[in-house]
Amino acid sequence: MLARIGVSKLEDLYSDVPSQFLHKGAYALPEALSEQEIRDYFASLEAMNARLKVFVGQGAYDHYTPSVIPYLCSRSEFLTAYTPYQCEISQGTLRYIFEYQSMMCELTGLDVSNASMYDGPTAAAEAMKMAIACTRKKTRVLLSATLLPNVIAVVKTYAKFHGVEIGMLKADGGQTSLEALEAELAKDDVAGVIVPSVNRYGIVEDHSGFADAIHEEKGILVEYCDPSALAVVKTPAEWDADVAVGDGQPLGLPICYGGPYVGFMTVKKEHMRKMPGRIVGQTVDKQGRRVFVLTLQAREQHIKREKATSNICSNESLMALWATIYLSLMGPEGMKQVNKLSADGAHYLKAELLKTGKFEDVFPDKPFLKEFVLKYKGSGLKERLEKAGYFAALETEEGYVSFCVTEKRSKEDIDRLVAIVKEG
């Protein structure tokens, strides 16, 4: 090969590199390990981590992953493919993304979904930029203070550099305040408003009047959602929202120390051409057969370059497949049952914890599903639970303790957790 190229040694292939930049000497890296040693080494790292029963959500929900999902997602035709640029040999990827888009539209009730985004918080940040792009002369985006802390932090980071002003919407009784919203809208500079469907306290929010007030001022309403919960709670479309975003992680994706997850975004049809990310569409091939392609690419970074309002290209395709297979297996009935099991478990846990007399109910009348917060009257609860094998009672910024129950936790787990609380 060297002879064909016309050089005598590998080093000659770098003859154009100024010699002072050629790295001399060894790299400060470990010696190579055999496959067996790699397996052993990672097993030793794995063993260092605590193995706790997870009773915390806050943006990462430990739902069950049916065994079919990793089995199918590890098929190398899916796993080792690139973005489906050559549609003639990528119909597998393109079809599942089309199915994913259809399912996200179905969950949120909105018209158009993109092919996925990085995670929930970045999807919210993209929605923030989209709100500015959709509304002329408006400069400010409002965030509900009841959004998850990491959603607020990421949106604020993007906004700071993109030059978007952020306003915070106060909560009232654990849910976004309509009164506060109306006061902010009166300032006539609001491009969009991001509110959680189910919020950081686990409360199912009531957004009656939100869309009308926002649309009156020509702004857009963005609902931040747990897509699993959308099987049972009012959808973004039913709240007349313009955009829905969130994290697809609760759709059977392992919590995996925070990633990979999958962000999603769906929009009303009129905002389709402002939506960031890849989109798959249906068309026909030369034989007239139904086929799928990447479409509406004029919106995207590789065409618009510096005029683009988003730089997203590759996203989280394989995790979108993960969610698609999950939703296929669960179907409408499975989604209802997962929500019911989790919510029944969470309500049972909350009731049992309150019975111990060691907690104060912060939002007693508010509806919730799998997640809730309480005020603990003592201290050191989380550490005590950790010692007993539980990751629970996570302290929040407000000084509450947060709990979450999914179908993976058993009644025995809960009874034991409560017994430990009583002992303290």
Binding site: M1, I5, L10, Y14, D16, V17, P18, Q20, H23, L29, E31, I38, Y41, A43, A50, L52, V54, G59, A60, D62, V68, L72, S74, R75, S76, T80, A81, Y82, I89, S90, Q91, T93, F98, E99, G109, A115, Y118, N150, K156, V233, T235, E238, G258, G259, I279, T283, R305, E306, K307, N311, I312, E316, L318, S328, M330, G331, P332, G334, A343, E386
Partner: protein, 468 residues
């Protein structure tokens, strides 16, 4: 590959399901108030587990991956993805960790980040990395935020511009715009490198920095990098390195040594993690020591980035070790130059000389155009390659050439594979010269033929239309 036409929705039968949940032993919780309940029926498919397994297995068979065959997609570094890495990422002691667990609960996970940080610093010559970005473009954006934060911290508010070469990846200017920077384009010379004379007048105290990839998107080393670095640093700007093209430098050249202050890596390119049909990736950002303090203010993803991808990449680094890692760059460059030399009598090579991991042809030398039959284009060549069982190269990028065909073989391909590809590329060139219509009509043996993309964009059908 056979043609399979179903969507999962079309397999749906009322009452069928594929889930298995424990018996509910709790007292029934109060229902969500009627006004907060979902009103519309949830029309998800109702299918059994065997339905699901067969459907997605059939879909997979309409796909082409690195495990299927050679994937010379320029700028994408489609190297082989080792299988042990998948096993590591699937270990329950990693997959079951909640992201809000404090460091003390997850020392094994933290150790992966720490050791990975050290390894990437050693490979790149940067001081430290943040692992939050989930993709290459996400890394670019994060890196530019760090660049701006650096100037803001010094109270230097005038630096609003970033210089980007005209050959840059499309994400570069887009990332700059999202980070609130004004993009100033610098032209390339005839030899494909940045025009340093054209750069000079663009430099002043309003320049936050320059974004470069080296080798550039033509696969050419920016030989004047030392002078460029001195010029940009001279006016107080920073140098950003787009790590999409890091593969040829692995084990040979470190971006930090060339004067770059900030860079991102694509773990899904250089560090062998699978592309997954377009993600998940990971785009860690490295900075020089004087920029370390700018990282904490920047929160760009929900938790700690794509841990599962970082695990795979670290397993890859450990499997290569210091010795083999030094061969990665050299072998990737060897393969690219070999293909280039073996094909340049059939395809136009706009710029002669040694390339790095990839190179660009500007279409066929003889496209077969005659009378009123148009010649074969780069698109035609790409589609014809699919017939012969190869993935197509990147086409119509970079924008410097009208018929760009960008080929990147990677170091994990054998000489036999490269030779087979070369033979097919020569055959296609001959076909074009004889009868370009064979190429215009290609592909002929793929699961589908060319789609009607115009209709797809004009009359968008973006979700399943029929009712269940």
């Amino acid at each position: 590959m056979k043609y399979y036409d179903k969507l999962i929705f079309e397999l749906s039968q009322e009452g069928r399901s594929g889930f298995s949940l424990p018996v509910n032993r709790y007292p029934a919780a109060p229902e969500v108030p009627a006004g907060l309940k979902r009103q519309s029926a949830l029309k998800l498919p109702q299918v059994s587990e065997p339905d699901v397994v067969r459907h997605y297995t059939n879909l997979s068979q309409m796909n082409f991956g690195v495990d299927t065959g050679f994937y010379p997609l320029g700028s994408c570094t489609m190297k082989y993805n080792p299988k042990i890495n998948e096993e590591i990422a699937a270990m329950p002691g990693f997959g079951g960790l909640h992201p809000l667990m404090e460091d003390a609960l997850v020392p094994g996970a933290r150790k992966v980040y720490e050791e990975m940080n050290k390894a990437l610093a050693a490979i790149t010559g940067m001081y430290t990395f943040t692992f939050d970005p989930c993709a290459g473009a996400h890394g670019e954006l994060t890196g530019l935020m760090i660049m701006r934060q650096y100037h803001l911290n010094r109270g230097d508010l005038a630096r609003t511009k970033v210089i980007v070469p005209d050959s840059a990846h499309g994400t570069n200017p887009a990332s700059a715009a999202v980070a609130g920077l004004e993009v100033v384009e610098v032209k390339s010379l005839e030899n494909g490198r940045i025009d340093v004379e054209a750069l000079k007048p663009l430099l002043d105290n309003t320049v936050a920095g320059i974004m470069m990839t080296n080798p550039n998107t033509l696969g050419l080393f920016e030989t004047q990098i030392e002078e460029i670095a001195a010029l940009v640093h001279g006016v107080g700007g920073l140098l950003y390195y787009d790590g999409a093209n890091m593969n040829p430098l692995m084990g040979v050249v470190r971006p930090g040594d060339m004067g770059f202050d900030i860079m991102h890596l694509n773990l899904h390119k250089t560090f062998s993690t699978p592309h997954g049909g377009g993600g998940p990736g990971s785009g860690p950002v490295g900075v020089a020591k004087h920029l370390e303090g700018c990282i904490p203010a920047i929160k760009v993803s929900g938790f700690h980035g794509n841990f599962g991808v970082i695990l795979r990449a670290y397993a890859y680094i450990l499997s290569l070790g210091k010795e083999h890692l030094q061969k990665v760059g050299q072998f990737s460059v060897l393969g690219a130059n070999y293909i280039k030399e073996c094909l340049k009598d059939k395809y136009k090579l706009p710029i002669e000389g040694v390339c790095k991991h990839e190179f660009v042809f500007d279409g066929l030398i003889n496209d077969g155009a005659h009378d009123d039959v148009p010649g074969a284009t780069t698109l035609d060549v790409a589609k014809r390659l699919l017939d012969y069982g190869f993935h197509a190269p990147t086409i119509y990028f970079p924008l410097l050439f009208h018929q760009a065909l960008m080929i990147e073989p990677t170091e994990t391909e054998s000489k036999e594979t490269l030779d087979a590809f070369i033979e097919v590329m020569r055959k296609i060139a001959d076909e074009a010269a004889q009868d370009p219509n064979i190429l215009h009509e290609a592909p002929h043996n793929t699961p589908i033929s060319r789609p009607d993309e115009t209709t797809a964009a004009r009359n968008p059908i973006l979700k399943f239309q029929d009712t269940l």
